[in-house]
Symmetry: C2
Subunit: 105 residues, 2 copies
DNA sequence: TAACTATATCAATACTTATTGATATAGTAA
DNA sequence: TTACTATATCAATAAGTATTGATATAGTTA
């Protein structure tokens, strides 16, 4: 009756990690950024201009995404190019799917 | 280069819906409740006692989940029994997977 | 009816976090 | 060097929301 997800240490840890991931991507601008980066790497100015955000706000959200490992950055001249970390996203997607899929059976 | 998800009306609407869903489930107690209800329908007192939450707080989170359609409730004597709406969850899972899957392709 | 149990609601507070404005840093070019 | 561009950081504020305490409501049982 009591599902494992709320009992043993590993399950609790997974739930915590999943919630952290969800908090990161449950912000509209951040999800848009991830969405935008799916089309290929972009510099910060491309991102904020395209999304209509303030430059510093964009930097802030990129930092949140980067700190969590969802994106990476590299300097290229004056610009900083951000790209998406597919593997990391897949990892958390998988964790999340433990909570969203496999109902019933 | 510019992904559809940030341009046309339908994509913007999908993103908004997805973010709303994410905000609902990105709260630890709510995700735990969903997790718990996967094991079968439960009354409120079972839920708050099992999760160690205050009764009113549990009611609050259940209301949030219910208002969004993720769970349903029915009265059974003194108790109110909550159950999970698998179809709704699947619907939003699908929406979400548009953002988390199919990278690179 | 009255007393009791289970749940919901309301107001206030606490907490987190998004946003803004100002400024700093780093790279580039003259 | 100075001037310029792109990005990051910091402090302050604003906005949203989780939590708590008190109370109300609904169903049950005596």
């Amino acid at each position: 009756m009591k599902p494992r997800c709320c009992i043993d240490k590993k399950s609790v840890a997974n739930l915590s990690q999943t919630v952290e991931f969800l908090k990161i991507i449950s912000e509209e601008n951040r999800l848009k950024i991830l969405c935008l980066l799916r089309g290929g790497e972009k510099c910060v100015c491309d991102i904020w201009q395209y999304l209509g955000l303030a430059q510093n706000l964009t930097s802030h959200h990129l930092k949140v995404l980067k700190d969590f490992g969802l994106v990476s950055s590299k300097q290229k001249g004056l610009k900083v190019i951000y790209s998406i970390n597919i593997k990391v996203i897949k990892k958390y997607s998988k964790l999340l799917n433990n909570y969203l899929n496999s109902y019933g059976e």
